[in-house]
């Protein structure tokens, strides 16, 4: 049972690609081995900035030999039949056996596939894996034609077992696999040979390489926390940054430095963003002041001066970067103080939003009008909503946002405060882009909600009007995200209005029904994630007022809960039975049974009881629906379950007496109508 060790040693692999690459390496190589008959016990893959490594243990030493028998044509069959069989099997006539078969003498081919040694299979599989590796971006180098993420320098590939170590005979574009590799670029001690995975990992460590990214991340996190803690500070956690930094170093050395007090006046988020974006620094917060006062950087080596030079260099770079940030911040503040945010945003008139939808300034005007219109529906003062909408995009013209686009909105909030906006207007600047994703927080402050809705509804109706809808996987204007944003804003804030449809109708060329259908589709996806089935939603979509998403979802939630109860499930079956019988009868008789059933034709006690139950339930359900108390309406409907079950149990609908039959069919129709007040049950599956 040999073990396979593979290392692909290259120039620096981008940090963001390492995780995926090691997983792909493992998947492709092990799949290839198994497909060729070499099974294994366990596999693990690793990545550092300069290497992908794979350890596969407990391989079959060789793939099992295969013996396959194929029956061919009869001996007296036409020549072409035999020729075809020889082609198919790759054998010559004299290699075939002739056996007696039921139908006479027949050719048989016996194909023996000998087992292949693990090393031979591994070489083939690995070469194919290297040549077809799914890098997000790959390149050529020098005069060669091989593609890899960066130049590939060496391949280590060995099979080892109790008997010893064997180099796998593998060569890819002139790179011959061997049993050696090298350690850290600066701290390693030259090439070395390895004999097994354990030996490899241990020697790498001696040569200052920590193979496992999780180990590196854990080291960085622990050291960073300890350094901050020792000074009474808190590390600002950032999992994404941690993973990235772990992919930039083979030998992490965590260093903490001071931020010059000159920059304490910058907003914390600006400090954090600048340090992270440009230098991949962690932020360290002083719990007493709440400000970011120190940074943590992760070097890739130890030095004789314990990182003093490295830290000094990093501090200097930070100083320059933050000088820039402060330069932008101060310029922006100066602008805002002089001309306000509206002045800052003047340039939006020169920025095209979309060539068919005008400039950003045109868009701001539309959003302002919409925000004013939406404001009363969400409990915001129309003037405040309009004010916020007017300035919410102004920071796109600020120097800070030009440098750090991810600070859009947030800078608007700071600048709005500076320009003496208040009453929720600054916060609306920050929040009006939200929610950005399915997990992003949904604003709840009324002014923010008004502007956030106006922003997204303008986008949706605008792109619908110029027929730029998402198709398949293409959604260049992020309209699905905008639709989900509208849905989450409406639902989280229980907004009650047929917003989108009304607004879309008021807009030229915008197909309001089509847009509403798109919104309904996104709603289905959203509710599915929350455990409400699409058919339950369909049953509610068929009801009036379906452009009021809050109402729609309240109804769907109550219906979904009802269907989970015993009563609900059985009532649905009763409904379906009634519906099926009616559909058959209507199809056969060519008439519809929509007349009012009459209790005087009732023959069975259960039939009379059902009349009574329907008479009682109908006004009750209607009243609850009127009050939009869907749960109570469903509960009232539950009272129908027993009478309906009893009715079907005791009574044959298709009675010989045509008057009785007709009356019963009309009674079934009445069940359909009474239940149909609450939802279209025929849409529900199961």
């Amino acid at each position: 049972m040999p073990d396979l060790l593979l290392e692909l040693f290259s120039e620096e692999i981008p940090a963001r690609m390492q995780d995926r690459a090691s997983a792909d390496l493992k998947r492709l190589v092990t799949q290839g081995l198994v497909d060729a008959g070499i099974t294994y016990e366990a596999a693990a893959a690793f990545a550092t900035p300069r290497r992908l490594a794979l350890s596969v243990t407990g391989l079959l030493a060789a793939s099992p030999a295969l013996r396959e028998e194929r029956k061919g044509p009869r001996v007296d069959a036409p020549e072409q039949a035999l020729a075809g069989f020889l082609r198919a099997t790759g054998l010559a006539r004299e290699q075939l056996e002739i056996r007696d078969d039921k139908k006479g003498q027949t050719y048989f081919a016996v194909i023996e596939k000998p087992g292949r040694a693990a090393g031979e299979v591994a070489a083939e599989v690995i070469e194919a894996t290297i040549r077809n590796f799914p890098w997000p971006k790959s390149m050529r180098w020098g005069a060669g034609s091989l593609r890899w993420v960066r130049p590939l320098h060496s391949i280590l590939c060995i099979l080892s077992d109790a008997a010893g170590v064997e180099n796998v005979a593998l060569e890819v574009d002139g790179i011959k696999a061997g049993d050696t590799t090298e350690g850290h670029r600066f701290m390693g001690g030259g090439r070395f040979a390895v004999t097994s995975f354990d030996d490899y990992a241990a020697r790498l460590k001696r040569n200052h390489v920590i193979l496992d990214a999780e180990d590196r991340a854990a080291m960085i996190e622990a050291d960073a926390r300890n350094l901050a803690f020792a000074q009474g500070m808190d590390l600002v956690e950032d999992a994404g940054l941690l993973a990235e930094v772990a992919g930039l170093v083979e030998w992490p050395v965590v260093l903490m430095g001071d931020i010059a007090p000159d920059f304490f006046g910058l907003p914390a988020k600006v400090l954090q963003t600048s340090m992270k974006a440009h230098q991949k620094f962690f932020s360290v917060r002083n719990p007493k002041t709440g400000g970011i006062e120190k940074f943590i950087t992760v070097a890739n080596r130890e030095t004789a001066d314990h990182g003093a030079t490295i830290l000094a260099g990093n501090r200097k770079v930070l100083f320059a970067r933050l000088s820039d940030a402060r330069f932008f911040w101060e310029n922006d503040l100066r602008t805002v103080r002089a001309v306000g945010l509206e002045g800052m945003g003047q340039g939006l008139a020169d920025v095209t939003f979309h060539n068919k939808l005008g400039s950003q300034a045109d868009r701001v005007k539309r959003i302002e009008a919409l925000a004013r219109e939406i404001a009363p529906l969400v409990g915001a003062a129309p003037d405040l909503a309009a004010e916020a909408a007017r300035i919410a995009k102004a920071d796109l013209q600020s120097e800070m946002v030009a440098e750090f686009p991810e600070l859009q909105g947030l800078m608007g909030m700071y600048y709005a405060r500076e320009a003496y906006h208040n009453d929720g207007v600054p916060e609306a600047c920050a929040e009006h882009y939200a929610p950005l994703g399915p997990n992003d927080n949904v604003p709840s402050a009324p002014v923010s909600v008004a502007v956030a809705l106006a922003d997204k509804i303008d986008t949706l109706t605008g792109f619908w009007a110029i027929d730029e809808k998402p198709t398949g996987s293409k959604d260049p204007f992020a309209l699905r995200r905008a639709a989900l944003g509208v849905i989450r804003l409406v639902l989280a804030n229980q907004v009650r209005a047929g917003l989108v449809h009304t607004i879309a109708e008021a807009r030229n060329n915008c197909d309001a029904n089509d847009l509403l259908a798109f919104l309904h589709d996104r709603l289905k996806v959203h509710l599915k994630d929350q455990g409400i089935r699409h058919d339950v939603i369909d049953a509610c979509l068929a009801m009036p007022g379906n452009d009021d998403l809050t109402l729609l979802v309240n109804r769907a939630t109550a219906l979904a809960a009802f269907l989970k109860t015993d009563d609900g499930e059985n009532l649905l079956q009763g409904y379906k039975r009634a519906n099926n019988i009616l559909a058959q009868a209507e199809a056969r008789d060519g008439v519809s049974y929509e007349g009012a059933p009459e209790v005087r034709f009732a023959e069975d006690a259960t039939e009379t009881a059902l009349f009574g139950a329907l008479d009682a339930a109908e006004p009750a359900i209607a009243a609850y629906l009127e009050a939009e108390d869907f749960a109570a309406a469903m509960a009232a409907m539950a009272a129908l379950r027993a009478p309906i079950d009893a009715f079907f149990e005791a009574v044959q609908i298709n009675a010989d007496n045509q008057i009785v039959r007709r009356n019963r069919l009309c009674l079934l129709n009445r069940i359909r109508e009474v239940m149909g007040q609450a939802a279209q049950f025929s849409a529900i599956e199961g």
Partner: protein, 309 residues
């Protein structure tokens, strides 16, 4: 490796790089005599990275980025600065080691500093060019761009060139331990007339910052842009057979000069803030179209590898 003694001034950093790369076999060229945004625009990089002929060159290129002007006040932002550029085709297998050697040559002690290769794919939409590589960090500071060219002017690079670009001011400030670019010694501090970077460039930075941001006549710039574009196209549509010499002369490089001009004029217009987002794409597309025409023409020349095996 030579001992990592520290240079004393800006020009010594340049001289050491020149000596180092000369020692590694590069032809030491001079700057191109036109306004460019980066050393890559020098024909010794853009055009020479095309075709199959081997190439190895290094040079200083004065570069202009109008929108980076800070009136000479920012410690390290300049609208005019120097890049050091190395281009070797095909890229040698030990290019990373050669590069690290150049850092040692200018006095960076590898045992004290943290050198990192951080993903940074290079793309020049105006040149229709892209490559993969890194920005090289020294103690968190970007000191170079390191790129393996994959495509230039829309043509696949085969063989692939390795390109190194050093931002000379920033690198030198770091090596010399200077905090503000204007304070950096330009020549030796003990020279009879010691000059700082500020002595040489401060006033020019001020003048150009004002000019670039507020004065440059955008109408004229736009006119120049269109002239350069038309000239480039006209040069390349001239018949390749020269009646005077009777030779076949494709004028790739004169045409490329006009492409460089158009590119710089676009940068000036951009710095003036008169180009909107959608227009921006259109302008970039126009410059790229010129770059592509020039590349097409160049690969049809002898230097561009036409007729080579």
């Amino acid at each position: 490796m030579q001992p990592a003694t520290r240079p004393t001034c800006f020009q010594e950093v340049i001289l050491r790089l020149q000596a180092y790369w000369a020692g590694k076999g590069c032809a030491i060229l001079q700057p191109y005599d036109m306004e460019v945004g980066a050393g890559t625009f020098h024909p010794a990089t853009t055009l020479r990275s095309l075709g199959v002929r081997p190439w190895a060159a290094a040079y200083v290129q004065p570069s202009r980025r109008p929108s980076d002007g800070r009136y000479g006040e920012n410690p390290n932002r300049l609208q005019h600065y120097y890049q050091y550029q190395v281009l070797i085709k095909p890229s040698p297998p030990d290019l990373q080691a050669l590069y690290l050697g150049s850092l040692e040559a200018i006095g960076i002690d590898m045992s004290l500093h943290d050198i990192r290769f951080v993903e940074d794919d290079w793309e020049s939409p105006t040149l229709g060019a892209w490559g993969l590589g890194w920005e090289v960090w020294c103690d968190g500071m970007e000191v170079s761009q390191f790129t393996y060219f994959q495509q230039v002017g829309g043509h696949d690079c085969a063989p692939v060139s390795g390109e190194l670009t050093y931002g000379l001011e920033r690198l030198a400030m770091y090596v010399l331990g200077v905090d503000h670019v204007m304070d950096m010694p330009f020549n030796a501090p003990d020279a009879p007339i010691p000059l700082t970077y500020g002595d040489v460039f401060r006033q020019a930075e001020q003048e150009y910052s004002r000019f670039n941001f507020d004065i440059a006549d955008t109408g004229k710039l736009l006119g120049h842009f269109e002239d350069a574009e038309a000239e480039c196209q006209a040069i390349l549509s001239s018949p390749v057979d020269d009646p005077k010499t009777g030779k076949r002369i494709v004028m790739a490089q004169p045409a490329y000069d006009q492409c460089i001009k158009a590119s710089h004029l676009f940068n000036l217009l951009d710095a003036r803030g008169v180009i909107s987002v959608t227009e921006r794409q259109a302008y970039i597309g126009r410059v790229r179209a010129l770059a592509k025409l020039c590349a097409d023409a160049y690969v049809a020349t002898s230097d561009g590898g036409a007729g080579a095996a």
